[in-house]
């Protein structure tokens, strides 16, 4: 569906409205970017995130936003992207129709200026959970329109990496840049792995939804972008529960990348609470399943950025165990 920018006008102080006309449908569809203010920002870095598996990215990015005290900047008007989520009727009158929010925030810090974008839902063209198709592409472009308007040259997105790890293990962070010259940078962050470090992947992979798509659209529009994905155990990712341990790992990487010192108390508390909850479920699993899953504690499926010696024999044996375990388990993803 072809759309093109037809106008940019002020419709309230410090606000812009970008209108798109849908050429194929003839009826005019107006989609708005609403900015509450227009701060002067110096080459800000954009950190953008939508919900995904274990809410890993969104917890990390939203924690960072709150920690740095980012201010409201604006929003993408949601009605063209989403079905409403809540209606409020009082005394027989429709008072409010609420849509998933898509908000921008900003913060000037000593080291660098920051822009945040946090979407409450991923826009889809159908019934899928993760964004795809025209709407996702339009939203990615709207987010980058704002980033470019404020002079942004670099974007971080965040999500989850489903990995054969145990929930007691520290999550690592898979990093995927959209340019080769960013490889050295992402390798320099502690506790990260590249796709090429992961056994059997040969540097290949796929990042589902907008957290991945934004990386590609940024590339198309000449922006550097890096997606940081916190690991979530393969046996947990299918459940609709958050996995703050993965978020914490992402937060640590973002903190290093952005040169911001962050307080981990809040996320540590979330990690502890989630571990207790997971552990209580884990203990109720049949012992034979638990024994199999316990083997994940000893799995090294990926080379760390600074390689440690793992014998080929060990690796082969462990991978065979994992393979056998998950082939046995019915109903796995």
């Amino acid at each position: 569906m072809a759309r093109w920018l037809v106008g940019l006008k002020l419709f309230r102080p410090c606000a812009i409205l970008i209108e798109y006309k849908d050429q194929s449908r003839k009826s005019e569809v107006v989609m708005g970017l609403r900015l509450y203010k227009e701060p002067r920002l110096d080459n800000p870095v954009l950190i953008a995130c939508w919900p995904g598996i274990g809410n890993i990215g969104i917890i990390a990015v939203d924690s960072l936003r709150r920690m740095v005290g980012a201010e409201d900047l604006g929003e993408i008007e949601s009605w063209d992207f989403f079905y409403p989520r809540r209606v409020l009727i009082r005394d027989g009158e429709l008072k409010e129709l609420e849509f998933p929010s898509n908000k921008f925030y900003f913060k000037r810090t000593e080291k660098m200026d920051l822009l945040f974008f946090i979407g409450e839902e991923q826009p889809t063209d159908g019934t899928k959970v993760y964004a795809e198709g025209t709407k996702a592409y339009r939203m990615a472009n709207l987010v980058l329109d704002v980033a470019l308007k404020f002079g942004c040259r670099k974007v971080y997105t965040s999500g989850a990496a489903v990995a054969p790890i145990h929930h007691t293990a520290r999550s690592r962070v898979w990093v995927v840049p959209n340019r080769e010259d960013l490889i050295d940078e992402v390798k320099s962050y502690e506790n990260t792995v590249l796709m090429s470090d992961i056994e059997g992947r040969d540097g290949q992979g796929n990042i589902t939804g907008l957290n991945g798509l934004l990386l590609g659209v940024a590339k198309k529009r000449g922006l550097e972008a890096i997606c940081v994905m916190g690991e979530i155990p393969i046996y947990i990712h299918g459940f609709p529960i958050p996995y703050p341990k993965g978020s914490k790992a992402v937060l640590e990487v973002l903190s290093t990348a952005l040169g911001i010192e962050v307080q981990m108390d809040e996320i540590n508390a979330l990690v502890q609470q989630s571990e207790r909850e997971i552990e209580s479920v884990y203990e109720r699993l049949p012992s034979e399943i638990r024994e199999q899953l316990d083997k994940l504690k000893y799995v090294a499926y990926a080379r760390p950025s600074e390689p440690e010696p793992i014998t080929e024999e060990d690796k082969k044996r462990i991978l065979q165990e994992i393979d056998r375990l998950f082939k046995k388990e019915p109903g796995r993803d």
Binding site: S27, I89, E93
Partner: protein, 277 residues
């Protein structure tokens, strides 16, 4: 780059101002479609426009309901000689806001619509013999004030519960409000055991409102016949199945049913009213 017209216009009625009644095919007790079909028949309406399903509906095949292949339909009708337009449609699967914008574009541009009503059924725990009510939700204080002169319950409080989403009619009312078009959604309670079949009594309640609001002089003979037929059939069921009669008696006396009792009532009613006995 294709330039596709998203709708077909069949006639251009000369209207200076009109009201629009909207019904969605996916409705409890099929109240909306039944009411608009009745209005169209009684008022000898003509097809006015049709929205192309492409882009709004899944066109990967057809669904089959009651042995008949279905296809999404979104049609405007003009009630000749009246300032009344009817829109009957399936609820789109994609591009909801774009769809509603198109409905409102057509309504404003070709029909000069100034007022919108949506029709819908809502599940009620009561019996079919209790007096029928009609509830309204307006999208403005002015509209609410105007509706006061009719026999409506217009003081409803509601908030979407967790795990639920607003109705498409609420989305429409909100979109109409953004264009300063007055609107109201009308909700008629449908006894839960008639939910999957039809409820002509509920349909009549809504149709009576439109009759009065737009001075349509509707002939209710056919609708009354249908109500009589259904009432007789339910009376027959009650006399033949004392257990079901007991359940309905409980409802008539404002007593609740157990889950098992409710399920049995729904199942038996559906079988009998659909002609399974």
């Amino acid at each position: 780059m294709s330039e596709r017209q998203p709708f077909k216009l069949f006639i251009k009625p000369k209207l200076e101002s009109s009201s629009l009644v909207i019904a969605w095919n996916q409705d409890a007790g099929r109240i909306g479609p039944k009411v608009t079909d009745y209005l169209n028949k009684e008022l000898a309406s003509r097809e006015l426009a049709e929205i192309d399903p492409e882009g709004f509906f899944s066109l990967s095949g057809v669904s089959v309901e009651d042995n008949i292949a279905q296809f999404p339909e979104s049609k405007f009708y003009w009630c000749r000689g009246k300032s009344l337009v009817i829109f009957k449609s399936d609820i789109p699967r994609y591009e909801w806001y774009e769809f509603l914008s198109l409905v409102l574009d057509i309504a404003e541009k070709y029909c000069k619509v100034k007022e919108i009503y949506t029709v819908g059924g809502m599940v009620s725990p009561g019996a079919h013999t209790t007096p029928r009510l009609l509830l309204s939700v307006a999208n403005s204080t002015e509209m609410k004030r105007m509706l006061r002169q009719y026999d409506l319950i217009s003081d409803m409080d509601y908030e979407t519960q967790d795990g639920q989403r607003p109705t498409f009619s609420s989305f429409l009312l909100w979109a109409a409000k953004r264009r300063n078009i007055a609107g109201a959604s009308l909700w008629v309670p449908v006894p839960f055991y008639l939910f999957a079949v039809e409820d002509p009594g509920a349909c009549k309640k809504v149709t009576e409102f439109f009759d009065r609001r737009f001075e349509l002089n509707i002939n209710f003979a056919d609708m009354n016949d249908e109500i009589t037929r259904q009432d007789r059939k339910i009376a027959q069921i009650r006399s033949q199945l004392p257990e079901l009669d007991g359940y309905i008696n409980k409802l008539e006396n404002n007593l609740g049913l157990t889950v098992d009792e409710s399920e049995k009532l729904v199942k038996e009613m559906e079988e009998w009213l659909r002609g399974g006995h």
